[in-house]
Subunit: 346 residues, 2 copies
């Protein structure tokens, strides 16, 4: 075992979109597992939009990554040393190891992964936090009913594709929004969306709204919100009475940082948003998946068999090398990924 490992640290906080200078790839000493801890050699690491939020020091639901700290990430790998009876070398484990080649965490913070049941990468996407986020937000706050219409953006991402597929299996009309014709084809052909609109093809929220209106002839009952911005502005006037909006993210607005009065709201004002919630009796719920882990076993029981049978599909986009994680992350925030973004670390 070498005495050093590599990691990506937060070098400085971004103003606006992150740049290369905000990250630092560097060697650090290899940790040794203390009593109850487990050392893991990371094979695959997850990249997710929420990490953009952790780079800011705005008050949020999670503490920011400190300057000089390791960027946060879920990752999966092989146990190479264990000081806990719960894990032995050769086991596979998922944990919040960060952007790093190795991670050392208490056994109770790890989840054992069976590599014979599904590819270990699925623990980062379709059967991990993103897939669970889509399922849980849809079921608890979307409250889907057969015959209704659902809209979700980032439709080919691991959250949006789960939302769309679960809703379709429950008998809803599903309309995705994605960036580019390729992704829209993936949304309808691979993930079975009834329709998918390329938001890049519409210059304004108004244009996008007109297209959405055609794609949703009965209006929108559930808007699963993960992007904000132009899509939200297009969707809001199309919401039906008693519509539901689970909010798990707003990637379009992340670079606005603290999002004070100056943040770009384009054609949507706070009063207009508030008024729509009132006059259409909307139910809007923000959530973070970390408050819902008690439902994770139910999710796995329901969804893992459907993934195994192919009823629920997933697409992964695997980049190579931890040193490329910053560039991959920056590209993902602009929609450069096709499916769940993963970094192969080993």
């Amino acid at each position: 075992m070498t005495d050093q490992m590599y990691r990506v640290a937060l070098a400085s906080r971004p103003s606006g979109a992150p740049t290369t200078e905000n990250f630092r790839y560097e060697p650090v000493p290899m940790p040794e597992p203390a009593e109850g801890e487990v050392l893991v050699r990371v094979h695959y690491m997850s990249l997710d939009p929420y990490m953009r939020g952790r780079m800011d020091d705005a008050k949020s639901y999670a503490a920011p990554v400190p300057i000089g700290g390791t960027m946060e990430a879920g990752a999966v790998g092989e146990v190479i040393a264990s000081n806990s009876p719960a894990f032995k070398p050769g086991d596979f484990a998922f944990g919040m190891f960060g952007w790093a080649t190795h991670g050392c965490l208490p056994a109770k913070m790890l989840r054992k992964i069976d590599p014979d049941q599904a590819p270990i990468t699925t623990s980062l996407g379709v059967l991990g936090m993103p897939g669970f986020t889509g399922w849980q937000g849809l079921m608890e706050y979307g409250r889907p009913k057969a015959g209704e219409t659902l809209v979700v953006a980032a439709a080919t991402g691991p959250v949006g594709s789960m939302v769309g597929q679960v809703a379709r299996l429950m008998g809803l009309r599903t309309v995705g929004i994605a960036g580019g014709a390729d992704k829209c084809r993936m949304a309808t052909e691979t993930f079975g969306f009834d329709d998918c609109l390329d938001h890049r093809a519409y210059a304004t929220a108004k244009d996008l709204r007109a297209a959405l209106s055609d794609a949703c002839p009965d209006g929108i009952d559930i808007y699963f919100e993960n992007v904000g911005g132009k899509v939200l502005e297009a969707v809001i006037p199309l919401m039906n009475n008693f519509g539901r909006i689970p909010i798990c993210g707003m990637i379009a607005w992340y670079d606005a940082g603290g999002l004070g009065a100056g943040a770009a709201a384009e054609g949507l004002s706070a009063p207009a948003l508030w008024r729509n919630i009132l006059v259409k009796f909307l139910s809007v719920n923000g959530f973070i998946i970390s408050n819902h882990w008690n439902r994770f076993p139910t999710f796995l029981n329901e969804i893992a068999p459907k993934v195994a049978s192919g009823e629920i599909k997933y697409v992964e986009d695997v980049a190579e090398g931890l040193e490329n994680a910053p560039a991959t992350f920056m590209s993902m925030l602009k929609g450069g990924n096709h499916g769940k973004q993963i970094v192969k670390v080993i």
Copy 2:
């Protein structure tokens, strides 16, 4: 029985705050009850903020009053002619008779009122639509828990005073917001709020927020929304994680009409509002009480005895004369009323 009655019609749609020219007080022929209908001589009529919305033709949850149509209102009076076995002359009935001295409606659209159980005016306020709105919104969407903190504006109005009193009886800390020192005293002394802030004493949302922060040392768990504007802007950053915001109105923004992009949002942008919902896991629900009438018997069962015993207090502000309804209404929209605004018609 004379062959004419009086009403107030909508003469024109307001742009901004309503003015005298928007209303027309006029005689119209006395209706005769058709089969199944009941003719009522109105004694008291209700004035409520929602009526401002009916004067606009913006898409909303209810059809606008047509130009030349009778202004909408709930009212209570004595049956003077009946073509239905359900009512006989001398009975008292509540119905949507509008701004008028008389009203003729099908018996099934009326609610019989027992004048011996409570003053008939209570059917317009504490035991009518406004009190029910406060109770239902609080119970279903506020989900109050002992030890939490609740904030409501228009704290001495019939909605806010019900919300505050029910929450206090359930063991919450209740903080009201009202316009003027008199109303604040009424809120604490009559309605038992733990504290009440005079929004007129704070020039900006930021100043109001600082005072609210002092009044709510443990943050805000429930904000019962009926005003919008500066109060909303002050409250949002003080909301606790998992906070709830039932929305039943936004009187501060009614004059903005359609509330498009140009509506005054002051220091609160749509993205900032949306971000707060996400990062604090807020639950925001718009509602209109007309979708909840199935719960009205439960409300009366629970609250009428508490009103009779004096555990729940109410204050009524009675103006004289239907011809004065427009001026009273305009004054009420600016906060000129002290307690539930009623017009004595007979």
